[in-house]
Symmetry: C2
Protein backbone atom coordinates (compact mmCIF):
# COMPACT_ATOMS: atom_id res chain seq x y z
CA UNK A 1 0.00 0.00 0.00
CA UNK A 2 2.92 2.35 0.65
CA UNK A 3 3.83 1.98 -3.03
CA UNK A 4 0.38 3.24 -4.03
CA UNK A 5 0.70 6.14 -1.61
CA UNK A 6 4.03 7.11 -3.18
CA UNK A 7 2.51 6.87 -6.65
CA UNK A 8 -0.33 9.15 -5.64
CA UNK A 9 2.06 11.61 -3.98
CA UNK A 10 4.03 11.77 -7.25
CA UNK A 11 0.84 12.30 -9.26
CA UNK A 12 -0.50 15.05 -7.04
CA UNK A 13 2.87 16.54 -6.11
CA UNK A 14 1.38 16.95 -2.66
CA UNK A 15 2.69 14.96 0.33
CA UNK A 16 -0.45 16.00 2.14
CA UNK A 17 -3.20 14.18 3.96
CA UNK A 18 -6.45 15.90 4.83
CA UNK A 19 -7.58 15.06 8.36
CA UNK A 20 -11.31 14.43 8.40
CA UNK A 21 -11.89 15.18 12.09
CA UNK A 22 -15.24 16.93 11.92
CA UNK A 23 -16.26 18.54 15.19
CA UNK A 24 -19.81 19.86 15.10
CA UNK A 25 -18.38 23.34 15.61
CA UNK A 26 -16.61 23.12 12.23
CA UNK A 27 -19.81 22.37 10.34
CA UNK A 28 -21.79 25.32 8.97
CA UNK A 29 -25.15 25.89 10.64
CA UNK A 30 -27.03 25.39 7.39
CA UNK A 31 -25.58 21.89 6.97
CA UNK A 32 -26.51 20.99 10.54
CA UNK A 33 -30.00 22.51 10.23
CA UNK A 34 -30.68 20.47 7.13
CA UNK A 35 -29.48 17.24 8.79
CA UNK A 36 -31.38 17.92 12.03
CA UNK A 37 -34.46 18.72 9.96
CA UNK A 38 -34.35 15.22 8.53
CA UNK A 39 -33.14 13.25 11.59
CA UNK A 40 -33.78 15.53 14.56
CA UNK A 41 -31.17 16.76 17.02
CA UNK A 42 -30.05 13.19 17.54
CA UNK A 43 -26.92 11.10 17.15
CA UNK A 44 -28.25 10.22 13.69
CA UNK A 45 -28.64 13.92 12.93
CA UNK A 46 -25.06 14.65 13.99
CA UNK A 47 -23.80 11.71 11.91
CA UNK A 48 -25.77 12.93 8.90
CA UNK A 49 -24.34 16.44 9.23
CA UNK A 50 -20.80 15.04 9.48
CA UNK A 51 -21.24 12.85 6.43
CA UNK A 52 -22.66 15.66 4.29
CA UNK A 53 -19.84 17.95 5.40
CA UNK A 54 -17.16 15.31 4.74
CA UNK A 55 -18.47 14.53 1.26
CA UNK A 56 -18.43 18.19 0.24
CA UNK A 57 -14.86 18.59 1.51
CA UNK A 58 -13.74 15.38 -0.18
CA UNK A 59 -15.34 16.40 -3.49
CA UNK A 60 -13.46 19.69 -3.31
CA UNK A 61 -10.00 18.27 -2.56
CA UNK A 62 -9.97 14.76 -4.06
CA UNK A 63 -7.94 15.75 -7.13
CA UNK A 64 -5.34 17.61 -5.05
CA UNK A 65 -4.21 15.12 -2.42
CA UNK A 66 -3.31 11.43 -2.23
CA UNK A 67 -4.99 10.60 1.06
CA UNK A 68 -7.36 11.48 3.87
CA UNK A 69 -7.15 10.61 7.56
CA UNK A 70 -10.44 10.32 9.41
CA UNK A 71 -9.91 10.43 13.20
CA UNK A 72 -12.28 7.76 14.49
CA UNK A 73 -12.70 9.37 17.94
CA UNK A 74 -14.63 12.23 16.35
CA UNK A 75 -17.13 9.68 15.01
CA UNK A 76 -17.11 7.29 17.98
CA UNK A 77 -18.33 10.12 20.21
CA UNK A 78 -21.64 9.96 18.33
CA UNK A 79 -22.06 6.26 19.10
CA UNK A 80 -23.21 3.77 16.49
CA UNK A 81 -24.59 6.42 14.09
CA UNK A 82 -21.24 8.22 14.32
CA UNK A 83 -19.31 5.05 13.53
CA UNK A 84 -21.60 4.42 10.57
CA UNK A 85 -20.64 7.87 9.30
CA UNK A 86 -16.97 6.87 9.76
CA UNK A 87 -17.51 3.71 7.75
CA UNK A 88 -19.39 5.57 5.02
CA UNK A 89 -16.69 8.24 4.91
CA UNK A 90 -14.05 5.55 4.37
CA UNK A 91 -16.09 4.02 1.53
CA UNK A 92 -16.81 7.37 -0.08
CA UNK A 93 -13.16 8.41 -0.05
CA UNK A 94 -12.01 5.11 -1.53
CA UNK A 95 -14.57 5.43 -4.30
CA UNK A 96 -13.10 8.85 -5.06
CA UNK A 97 -9.66 7.26 -5.45
CA UNK A 98 -8.28 8.57 -2.17
CA UNK A 99 -6.20 6.41 0.14
CA UNK A 100 -7.62 6.27 3.64
CA UNK A 101 -5.53 6.35 6.80
CA UNK A 102 -7.74 5.29 9.70
CA UNK A 103 -6.45 7.29 12.66
CA UNK A 104 -7.53 4.72 15.21
CA UNK A 105 -4.42 4.43 17.44
CA UNK A 106 -5.39 0.89 18.38
CA UNK A 107 -3.08 -1.54 20.13
CA UNK A 108 -3.60 -4.40 22.56
CA UNK A 109 -2.21 -7.83 23.43
CA UNK A 110 -1.66 -10.27 20.54
CA UNK A 111 -5.00 -11.86 19.69
CA UNK A 112 -6.87 -8.66 20.51
CA UNK A 113 -4.60 -6.56 18.31
CA UNK A 114 -5.33 -9.17 15.64
CA UNK A 115 -9.03 -8.38 15.95
CA UNK A 116 -8.37 -4.63 15.59
CA UNK A 117 -6.13 -5.29 12.59
CA UNK A 118 -8.85 -7.39 10.97
CA UNK A 119 -11.45 -4.71 11.73
CA UNK A 120 -9.56 -1.86 10.10
CA UNK A 121 -7.19 -3.37 7.53
CA UNK A 122 -8.21 -6.96 7.04
CA UNK A 123 -11.18 -9.23 6.69
CA UNK A 124 -13.22 -11.37 9.03
CA UNK A 125 -14.85 -14.71 8.35
CA UNK A 126 -18.43 -15.53 9.29
CA UNK A 127 -19.34 -19.08 8.33
CA UNK A 128 -18.47 -19.41 4.64
CA UNK A 129 -18.28 -15.68 3.99
CA UNK A 130 -15.51 -13.14 4.27
CA UNK A 131 -16.17 -9.46 5.09
CA UNK A 132 -14.09 -6.29 5.14
CA UNK A 133 -15.43 -4.54 8.26
CA UNK A 134 -14.11 -0.96 7.83
CA UNK A 135 -11.65 -1.25 4.96
CA UNK A 136 -9.11 1.49 5.55
CA UNK A 137 -5.81 1.33 3.62
CA UNK A 138 -3.61 2.32 6.56
CA UNK A 139 -4.13 2.52 10.32
CA UNK A 140 -2.26 4.19 13.17
CA UNK A 141 -1.05 1.88 15.94
CA UNK A 142 0.00 2.47 19.57
CA UNK A 143 3.29 0.70 20.49
CA UNK A 144 3.07 0.70 24.32
CA UNK A 145 2.42 -3.07 24.46
CA UNK A 146 5.50 -3.98 22.42
CA UNK A 147 6.09 -6.36 19.53
CA UNK A 148 3.24 -8.77 20.18
CA UNK A 149 0.77 -5.87 20.10
CA UNK A 150 2.10 -4.57 16.78
CA UNK A 151 2.92 -7.83 15.03
CA UNK A 152 -0.70 -8.76 14.17
CA UNK A 153 -0.95 -5.46 12.29
CA UNK A 154 2.31 -6.16 10.44
CA UNK A 155 0.99 -9.60 9.50
CA UNK A 156 -2.16 -8.07 8.02
CA UNK A 157 -0.02 -5.54 6.15
CA UNK A 158 1.76 -8.47 4.53
CA UNK A 159 -1.28 -10.64 3.84
CA UNK A 160 -3.61 -7.86 2.70
CA UNK A 161 -1.18 -5.34 1.18
CA UNK A 162 -1.94 -2.64 3.75
CA UNK A 163 0.18 -0.25 5.81
CA UNK A 164 0.46 1.13 9.34
CA UNK A 165 1.93 4.17 11.07
CA UNK A 166 3.17 3.43 14.58
CA UNK A 167 3.10 6.26 17.15
CA UNK A 168 6.73 7.18 17.81
CA UNK A 169 6.75 10.85 18.86
CA UNK A 170 3.34 12.45 19.05
CA UNK A 171 2.62 16.12 18.40
CA UNK A 172 0.97 17.02 21.72
CA UNK A 173 2.60 19.19 24.41
CA UNK A 174 3.00 16.40 26.99
CA UNK A 175 4.26 13.79 24.53
CA UNK A 176 7.71 14.08 26.10
CA UNK A 177 6.54 12.94 29.52
CA UNK A 178 7.29 9.32 28.64
CA UNK A 179 8.44 9.44 25.00
CA UNK A 180 11.45 11.72 25.68
CA UNK A 181 12.74 9.91 28.78
CA UNK A 182 16.26 8.56 28.35
CA UNK A 183 16.89 4.83 28.31
CA UNK A 184 20.58 3.88 28.01
CA UNK A 185 21.18 7.42 26.78
CA UNK A 186 18.45 7.39 24.13
CA UNK A 187 14.93 8.78 24.37
CA UNK A 188 12.12 6.21 24.42
CA UNK A 189 10.94 7.48 21.00
CA UNK A 190 14.35 6.54 19.60
CA UNK A 191 13.94 2.95 20.85
CA UNK A 192 10.42 2.82 19.45
CA UNK A 193 11.82 4.14 16.16
CA UNK A 194 14.39 1.34 16.12
CA UNK A 195 11.59 -1.18 16.65
CA UNK A 196 9.62 0.40 13.80
CA UNK A 197 12.64 -0.16 11.55
CA UNK A 198 12.90 -3.77 12.75
CA UNK A 199 9.16 -4.49 12.36
CA UNK A 200 9.26 -2.80 8.98
CA UNK A 201 12.00 -5.02 7.59
CA UNK A 202 9.47 -7.83 7.47
CA UNK A 203 7.05 -5.90 5.34
CA UNK A 204 9.03 -4.25 2.56
CA UNK A 205 7.22 -3.01 -0.51
CA UNK A 206 8.62 -3.09 -4.05
CA UNK A 207 9.06 0.67 -3.85
CA UNK A 208 11.90 0.12 -1.38
CA UNK A 209 9.80 1.55 1.44
CA UNK A 210 8.25 -0.43 4.26
CA UNK A 211 4.55 -0.89 4.95
CA UNK A 212 5.41 0.00 8.56
CA UNK A 213 5.65 3.75 8.95
CA UNK A 214 5.73 6.05 11.96
CA UNK A 215 3.91 9.05 13.42
CA UNK A 216 6.22 11.93 14.35
CA UNK A 217 4.76 15.34 15.19
CA UNK A 218 5.64 18.42 13.12
CA UNK A 219 5.94 20.24 16.44
CA UNK A 220 9.26 18.46 17.11
CA UNK A 221 11.39 19.11 14.01
CA UNK A 222 14.75 18.09 15.52
CA UNK A 223 13.24 14.78 16.55
CA UNK A 224 12.03 14.40 12.99
CA UNK A 225 15.59 14.78 11.73
CA UNK A 226 16.86 12.04 14.04
CA UNK A 227 14.00 9.64 13.37
CA UNK A 228 14.32 10.11 9.59
CA UNK A 229 17.81 8.56 10.00
CA UNK A 230 16.78 5.87 12.49
CA UNK A 231 14.00 4.57 10.21
CA UNK A 232 15.36 5.15 6.69
CA UNK A 233 12.73 2.94 5.01
CA UNK A 234 9.69 4.06 6.98
CA UNK A 235 7.35 6.77 5.81
CA UNK A 236 6.58 9.36 8.46
CA UNK A 237 3.03 10.57 8.97
CA UNK A 238 3.42 14.08 10.36
CA UNK A 239 0.55 15.57 12.39
CA UNK A 240 0.68 18.96 14.07
CA UNK A 241 1.04 21.15 10.98
CA UNK A 242 -1.05 24.32 11.10
CA UNK A 243 -3.45 24.50 14.03
CA UNK A 244 -0.96 22.77 16.37
CA UNK A 245 1.83 25.16 15.40
CA UNK A 246 4.02 23.33 12.87
CA UNK A 247 5.00 25.24 9.68
CA UNK A 248 6.44 24.30 6.30
CA UNK A 249 10.03 25.00 7.28
CA UNK A 250 9.71 22.68 10.30
CA UNK A 251 9.02 19.84 7.92
CA UNK A 252 12.18 19.76 5.88
CA UNK A 253 13.93 17.17 8.06
CA UNK A 254 11.09 14.70 7.85
CA UNK A 255 11.64 14.29 4.12
CA UNK A 256 14.30 12.43 2.20
CA UNK A 257 16.57 14.14 -0.29
CA UNK A 258 14.18 13.21 -3.11
CA UNK A 259 11.22 14.84 -1.37
CA UNK A 260 9.72 11.53 -0.31
CA UNK A 261 9.49 9.81 3.07
CA UNK A 262 6.85 11.92 4.75
CA UNK A 263 3.23 12.87 4.44
CA UNK A 264 1.91 15.85 6.36
CA UNK A 265 -1.54 15.96 7.93
CA UNK A 266 -3.68 19.00 8.44
CA UNK A 267 -7.16 18.66 9.86
CA UNK A 268 -8.72 21.80 11.29
CA UNK A 269 -6.53 24.03 9.10
CA UNK A 270 -8.26 22.59 6.04
CA UNK A 271 -11.73 21.41 7.00
CA UNK A 272 -12.41 24.47 9.17
CA UNK A 273 -10.56 26.91 6.89
CA UNK A 274 -13.84 28.80 6.28
CA UNK A 275 -13.73 29.92 9.93
CA UNK A 276 -10.26 31.46 9.53
CA UNK A 277 -9.75 35.09 8.62
CA UNK A 278 -7.60 34.20 5.62
CA UNK A 279 -10.47 32.36 3.97
CA UNK A 280 -13.39 34.41 5.30
CA UNK A 281 -14.25 35.66 1.82
CA UNK A 282 -15.57 32.19 0.92
CA UNK A 283 -18.33 32.62 3.47
CA UNK A 284 -20.07 29.85 5.34
CA UNK A 285 -21.63 28.38 2.21
CA UNK A 286 -18.22 28.24 0.55
CA UNK A 287 -16.67 25.96 3.20
CA UNK A 288 -15.63 23.32 0.68
CA UNK A 289 -13.99 25.88 -1.62
CA UNK A 290 -12.22 27.36 1.40
CA UNK A 291 -10.87 23.86 2.17
CA UNK A 292 -9.60 23.58 -1.42
CA UNK A 293 -7.86 26.94 -1.16
CA UNK A 294 -6.27 25.91 2.15
CA UNK A 295 -4.93 22.70 0.58
CA UNK A 296 -3.40 24.68 -2.30
CA UNK A 297 -1.75 27.07 0.17
CA UNK A 298 -0.44 24.19 2.26
CA UNK A 299 0.92 22.51 -0.87
CA UNK A 300 2.81 25.68 -1.79
CA UNK A 301 4.13 26.12 1.75
CA UNK A 302 5.49 22.57 1.86
CA UNK A 303 6.87 22.63 -1.70
CA UNK A 304 8.80 25.79 -0.86
CA UNK A 305 10.27 24.15 2.24
CA UNK A 306 11.35 20.84 0.76
CA UNK A 307 12.61 21.93 -2.66
Amino acid sequence: MIGRLIERIRETQAPIVVGLDPQLGFIPDAVKAEAYGRCGETLEGAAEAILTFNKAIVDAVADLVPAVKPQIAMYEQFGIPGLKAFSETVSYCRKKGLLVIGDVKRGDIGSTSGAYAAAHLGTVRVGANEYEPFGEDFATVNPYLGTDGVKPFVDICKSHGKGIFVLVKTSNPSSGEFQDRLIDGKPLYHLVGEKVREWGEEAMDESGWSEVGAVVGATYPETGRLLREVMPKSFILVPGYGAQGGTGKDLVHFFDRDGLGAIVNSSRGIIAAWQKEAYASYGEAGYADAARAAVLDMKADIAQAIL
Copy 2:
Protein backbone atom coordinates in the same frame (compact mmCIF):
# COMPACT_ATOMS: atom_id res chain seq x y z
CA MET B 1 -17.75 4.88 40.49
CA ILE B 2 -14.87 3.15 42.30
CA GLY B 3 -16.97 3.39 45.48
CA ARG B 4 -19.77 1.46 43.81
CA LEU B 5 -17.30 -1.14 42.58
CA ILE B 6 -16.00 -1.63 46.13
CA GLU B 7 -19.56 -1.94 47.45
CA ARG B 8 -20.33 -4.61 44.86
CA ILE B 9 -17.06 -6.45 45.61
CA ARG B 10 -18.05 -6.53 49.30
CA GLU B 11 -21.55 -7.77 48.47
CA THR B 12 -20.36 -10.54 46.18
CA GLN B 13 -17.15 -11.31 48.06
CA ALA B 14 -15.62 -11.70 44.61
CA PRO B 15 -12.97 -9.28 43.31
CA ILE B 16 -13.61 -10.73 39.89
CA VAL B 17 -14.50 -9.30 36.52
CA VAL B 18 -15.77 -11.50 33.71
CA GLY B 19 -14.17 -10.60 30.39
CA LEU B 20 -16.79 -10.66 27.66
CA ASP B 21 -14.40 -11.22 24.73
CA PRO B 22 -16.48 -13.54 22.59
CA GLN B 23 -14.54 -15.06 19.72
CA LEU B 24 -16.78 -17.01 17.35
CA GLY B 25 -14.81 -20.12 18.28
CA PHE B 26 -16.04 -19.84 21.87
CA ILE B 27 -19.71 -19.83 20.85
CA PRO B 28 -21.49 -23.18 20.62
CA ASP B 29 -22.48 -24.23 17.09
CA ALA B 30 -26.16 -24.34 18.00
CA VAL B 31 -26.11 -20.66 19.05
CA LYS B 32 -24.35 -19.68 15.82
CA ALA B 33 -26.67 -21.82 13.67
CA GLU B 34 -29.71 -20.18 15.20
CA ALA B 35 -28.29 -16.68 14.65
CA TYR B 36 -27.15 -17.44 11.09
CA GLY B 37 -30.57 -18.95 10.40
CA ARG B 38 -32.16 -15.61 11.20
CA CYS B 39 -29.51 -13.23 9.79
CA GLY B 40 -27.42 -15.34 7.42
CA GLU B 41 -23.66 -15.87 7.67
CA THR B 42 -23.18 -12.13 7.83
CA LEU B 43 -21.71 -9.55 10.17
CA GLU B 44 -25.23 -9.19 11.57
CA GLY B 45 -25.38 -12.95 12.10
CA ALA B 46 -22.07 -12.93 13.97
CA ALA B 47 -23.22 -10.00 16.10
CA GLU B 48 -26.49 -11.78 16.88
CA ALA B 49 -24.65 -14.93 17.94
CA ILE B 50 -22.33 -12.90 20.18
CA LEU B 51 -25.20 -11.07 21.83
CA THR B 52 -27.18 -14.25 22.52
CA PHE B 53 -24.05 -15.90 23.93
CA ASN B 54 -23.20 -12.88 26.11
CA LYS B 55 -26.71 -12.63 27.53
CA ALA B 56 -26.75 -16.28 28.55
CA ILE B 57 -23.33 -15.94 30.24
CA VAL B 58 -24.38 -12.71 31.97
CA ASP B 59 -27.63 -14.26 33.20
CA ALA B 60 -25.63 -17.14 34.67
CA VAL B 61 -23.01 -15.05 36.51
CA ALA B 62 -24.70 -11.72 37.31
CA ASP B 63 -25.34 -12.56 40.99
CA LEU B 64 -21.76 -13.76 41.53
CA VAL B 65 -19.57 -10.89 40.31
CA PRO B 66 -19.49 -7.10 40.54
CA ALA B 67 -18.44 -6.34 36.99
CA VAL B 68 -17.88 -7.41 33.41
CA LYS B 69 -15.26 -6.24 30.94
CA PRO B 70 -16.22 -6.40 27.27
CA GLN B 71 -13.14 -6.12 25.02
CA ILE B 72 -14.30 -3.82 22.21
CA ALA B 73 -11.84 -5.22 19.63
CA MET B 74 -13.77 -8.49 19.59
CA TYR B 75 -16.88 -6.55 18.55
CA GLU B 76 -15.18 -3.97 16.31
CA GLN B 77 -13.90 -6.80 14.10
CA PHE B 78 -17.51 -7.38 13.04
CA GLY B 79 -17.92 -3.78 11.91
CA ILE B 80 -21.01 -1.75 12.72
CA PRO B 81 -23.16 -4.78 13.61
CA GLY B 82 -20.41 -5.91 15.98
CA LEU B 83 -20.24 -2.51 17.65
CA LYS B 84 -24.02 -2.54 18.05
CA ALA B 85 -23.64 -5.85 19.88
CA PHE B 86 -21.01 -4.17 22.10
CA SER B 87 -23.39 -1.33 22.87
CA GLU B 88 -26.28 -3.71 23.58
CA THR B 89 -24.03 -5.85 25.78
CA VAL B 90 -23.14 -2.77 27.84
CA SER B 91 -26.82 -1.86 28.25
CA TYR B 92 -27.85 -5.40 29.10
CA CYS B 93 -25.15 -5.76 31.77
CA ARG B 94 -26.03 -2.43 33.37
CA LYS B 95 -29.69 -3.43 33.50
CA LYS B 96 -28.61 -6.57 35.32
CA GLY B 97 -26.85 -4.41 37.93
CA LEU B 98 -23.34 -5.19 36.74
CA LEU B 99 -20.68 -2.52 36.46
CA VAL B 100 -19.16 -2.37 32.99
CA ILE B 101 -15.48 -1.81 32.28
CA GLY B 102 -15.11 -0.95 28.60
CA ASP B 103 -11.76 -2.45 27.62
CA VAL B 104 -11.13 0.08 24.87
CA LYS B 105 -7.49 1.09 25.51
CA ARG B 106 -8.13 4.45 23.89
CA GLY B 107 -5.76 7.40 24.14
CA ASP B 108 -4.90 10.31 21.84
CA ILE B 109 -3.96 13.99 21.98
CA GLY B 110 -6.09 16.25 24.19
CA SER B 111 -9.25 17.13 22.29
CA THR B 112 -9.33 13.73 20.62
CA SER B 113 -9.00 11.91 23.94
CA GLY B 114 -11.86 14.12 25.07
CA ALA B 115 -14.01 12.70 22.28
CA TYR B 116 -13.14 9.13 23.28
CA ALA B 117 -13.87 9.93 26.93
CA ALA B 118 -17.27 11.37 25.96
CA ALA B 119 -17.99 8.34 23.78
CA HIS B 120 -17.36 5.76 26.48
CA LEU B 121 -17.87 7.46 29.84
CA GLY B 122 -19.55 10.78 29.18
CA THR B 123 -22.22 12.44 27.14
CA VAL B 124 -22.31 14.34 23.88
CA ARG B 125 -24.49 17.27 22.94
CA VAL B 126 -26.40 17.51 19.65
CA GLY B 127 -28.34 20.75 19.42
CA ALA B 128 -30.46 20.96 22.57
CA ASN B 129 -30.12 17.28 23.44
CA GLU B 130 -27.57 15.30 25.42
CA TYR B 131 -26.77 11.63 24.66
CA GLU B 132 -24.78 8.90 26.36
CA PRO B 133 -23.12 7.18 23.37
CA PHE B 134 -21.88 3.88 24.87
CA GLY B 135 -22.33 4.37 28.60
CA GLU B 136 -19.68 2.20 30.23
CA ASP B 137 -18.86 2.80 33.92
CA PHE B 138 -15.10 2.46 33.51
CA ALA B 139 -12.73 2.46 30.53
CA THR B 140 -9.13 1.38 30.01
CA VAL B 141 -6.75 4.10 28.76
CA ASN B 142 -3.33 3.99 27.04
CA PRO B 143 -0.78 6.40 28.61
CA TYR B 144 1.79 6.66 25.78
CA LEU B 145 0.77 10.25 24.92
CA GLY B 146 1.24 11.53 28.48
CA THR B 147 -0.87 13.74 30.72
CA ASP B 148 -2.76 15.64 28.05
CA GLY B 149 -3.96 12.36 26.56
CA VAL B 150 -5.18 11.05 29.93
CA LYS B 151 -6.48 14.27 31.51
CA PRO B 152 -9.71 14.46 29.45
CA PHE B 153 -10.62 11.02 30.82
CA VAL B 154 -9.86 12.16 34.38
CA ASP B 155 -12.06 15.21 33.84
CA ILE B 156 -14.96 13.03 32.73
CA CYS B 157 -14.39 10.78 35.76
CA LYS B 158 -14.86 13.85 37.93
CA SER B 159 -17.81 15.38 36.09
CA HIS B 160 -19.70 12.15 35.43
CA GLY B 161 -18.68 9.99 38.40
CA LYS B 162 -16.86 7.40 36.28
CA GLY B 163 -13.53 5.61 36.55
CA ILE B 164 -10.56 4.58 34.39
CA PHE B 165 -7.79 2.02 34.47
CA VAL B 166 -4.57 3.24 32.84
CA LEU B 167 -2.28 0.65 31.22
CA VAL B 168 0.82 0.46 33.41
CA LYS B 169 2.25 -3.04 32.98
CA THR B 170 0.37 -5.22 30.54
CA SER B 171 0.07 -9.01 30.77
CA ASN B 172 1.49 -9.92 27.35
CA PRO B 173 4.91 -11.55 26.81
CA SER B 174 6.52 -8.55 25.09
CA SER B 175 5.14 -5.94 27.49
CA GLY B 176 8.65 -5.48 28.88
CA GLU B 177 10.09 -4.30 25.58
CA PHE B 178 9.30 -0.69 26.46
CA GLN B 179 7.51 -0.89 29.82
CA ASP B 180 10.45 -2.52 31.66
CA ARG B 181 13.20 -0.28 30.30
CA LEU B 182 15.03 1.66 32.98
CA ILE B 183 14.76 5.44 33.17
CA ASP B 184 16.86 7.00 35.93
CA GLY B 185 17.03 3.57 37.50
CA LYS B 186 13.30 2.90 37.41
CA PRO B 187 11.34 0.90 34.84
CA LEU B 188 9.00 2.90 32.61
CA TYR B 189 6.00 1.17 34.23
CA HIS B 190 7.14 2.61 37.58
CA LEU B 191 7.09 6.13 36.13
CA VAL B 192 3.69 5.53 34.59
CA GLY B 193 2.53 4.24 37.99
CA GLU B 194 3.74 7.45 39.63
CA LYS B 195 1.76 9.44 37.07
CA VAL B 196 -1.32 7.32 37.76
CA ARG B 197 -0.99 8.24 41.43
CA GLU B 198 -0.62 11.91 40.51
CA TRP B 199 -3.55 11.90 38.06
CA GLY B 200 -5.59 10.00 40.63
CA GLU B 201 -5.12 12.57 43.38
CA GLU B 202 -7.42 14.86 41.45
CA ALA B 203 -10.24 12.35 41.34
CA MET B 204 -10.58 10.87 44.82
CA ASP B 205 -13.78 9.11 45.76
CA GLU B 206 -15.38 9.16 49.24
CA SER B 207 -14.24 5.57 49.69
CA GLY B 208 -10.66 6.81 49.96
CA TRP B 209 -9.81 5.24 46.59
CA SER B 210 -9.20 7.13 43.38
CA GLU B 211 -11.30 6.97 40.22
CA VAL B 212 -7.98 6.54 38.37
CA GLY B 213 -6.85 2.94 38.57
CA ALA B 214 -4.24 0.92 36.70
CA VAL B 215 -3.89 -2.22 34.62
CA VAL B 216 -1.13 -4.56 35.82
CA GLY B 217 -0.90 -8.10 34.46
CA ALA B 218 -1.23 -11.14 36.77
CA THR B 219 1.68 -12.59 34.83
CA TYR B 220 4.09 -10.20 36.58
CA PRO B 221 3.43 -10.69 40.33
CA GLU B 222 6.60 -8.97 41.57
CA THR B 223 5.71 -5.92 39.53
CA GLY B 224 2.27 -6.04 41.13
CA ARG B 225 3.87 -5.86 44.56
CA LEU B 226 5.89 -2.77 43.65
CA LEU B 227 3.03 -0.98 41.90
CA ARG B 228 0.63 -1.69 44.79
CA GLU B 229 3.00 0.49 46.87
CA VAL B 230 3.59 3.15 44.21
CA MET B 231 -0.16 3.74 43.71
CA PRO B 232 -1.66 3.15 47.17
CA LYS B 233 -5.02 4.71 46.31
CA SER B 234 -5.47 3.21 42.84
CA PHE B 235 -7.40 0.02 42.21
CA ILE B 236 -5.55 -2.44 40.00
CA LEU B 237 -7.37 -4.24 37.21
CA VAL B 238 -5.48 -7.49 36.77
CA PRO B 239 -5.71 -9.31 33.43
CA GLY B 240 -3.80 -12.47 32.62
CA TYR B 241 -5.36 -14.81 35.19
CA GLY B 242 -6.12 -18.28 33.87
CA ALA B 243 -5.60 -18.65 30.12
CA GLN B 244 -2.58 -16.34 30.15
CA GLY B 245 -0.93 -18.24 32.99
CA GLY B 246 -1.60 -16.26 36.19
CA THR B 247 -2.88 -18.20 39.23
CA GLY B 248 -4.49 -17.28 42.54
CA LYS B 249 -1.23 -17.24 44.48
CA ASP B 250 0.29 -14.80 41.96
CA LEU B 251 -2.40 -12.31 42.93
CA VAL B 252 -1.73 -11.84 46.59
CA HIS B 253 0.55 -8.81 46.12
CA PHE B 254 -1.98 -6.91 44.05
CA PHE B 255 -4.33 -6.69 47.02
CA ASP B 256 -4.24 -4.54 50.11
CA ARG B 257 -4.17 -6.03 53.60
CA ASP B 258 -7.96 -5.75 53.79
CA GLY B 259 -8.42 -7.74 50.59
CA LEU B 260 -9.29 -4.68 48.52
CA GLY B 261 -7.35 -2.78 45.88
CA ALA B 262 -7.54 -5.19 42.97
CA ILE B 263 -10.05 -6.82 40.68
CA VAL B 264 -9.03 -9.82 38.62
CA ASN B 265 -10.23 -10.44 35.09
CA SER B 266 -10.75 -13.76 33.43
CA SER B 267 -12.17 -13.96 29.92
CA ARG B 268 -11.63 -17.20 28.07
CA GLY B 269 -11.31 -19.16 31.31
CA ILE B 270 -14.92 -18.31 32.10
CA ILE B 271 -16.80 -17.70 28.87
CA ALA B 272 -15.16 -20.65 27.10
CA ALA B 273 -15.09 -22.89 30.19
CA TRP B 274 -17.39 -25.38 28.43
CA GLN B 275 -14.51 -26.18 26.05
CA LYS B 276 -12.16 -27.10 28.92
CA GLU B 277 -11.79 -30.63 30.18
CA ALA B 278 -12.63 -29.60 33.74
CA TYR B 279 -16.11 -28.44 32.71
CA ALA B 280 -16.77 -30.87 29.86
CA SER B 281 -19.61 -32.52 31.77
CA TYR B 282 -21.76 -29.43 31.18
CA GLY B 283 -21.74 -30.15 27.47
CA GLU B 284 -22.09 -27.59 24.71
CA ALA B 285 -25.65 -26.69 25.67
CA GLY B 286 -24.55 -26.06 29.26
CA TYR B 287 -22.03 -23.35 28.33
CA ALA B 288 -23.59 -20.77 30.64
CA ASP B 289 -23.66 -23.16 33.59
CA ALA B 290 -20.04 -24.04 32.87
CA ALA B 291 -19.21 -20.33 33.03
CA ARG B 292 -20.96 -20.08 36.40
CA ALA B 293 -18.99 -23.06 37.73
CA ALA B 294 -15.75 -21.50 36.47
CA VAL B 295 -16.55 -18.24 38.28
CA LEU B 296 -17.20 -20.13 41.52
CA ASP B 297 -13.88 -21.98 41.16
CA MET B 298 -12.03 -18.75 40.44
CA LYS B 299 -13.65 -17.11 43.47
CA ALA B 300 -12.45 -19.94 45.68
CA ASP B 301 -8.94 -19.85 44.19
CA ILE B 302 -8.61 -16.13 44.82
CA ALA B 303 -10.20 -16.22 48.29
CA GLN B 304 -7.71 -18.89 49.33
CA ALA B 305 -4.81 -16.77 48.09
CA ILE B 306 -5.75 -13.44 49.63
CA LEU B 307 -7.14 -14.56 52.98
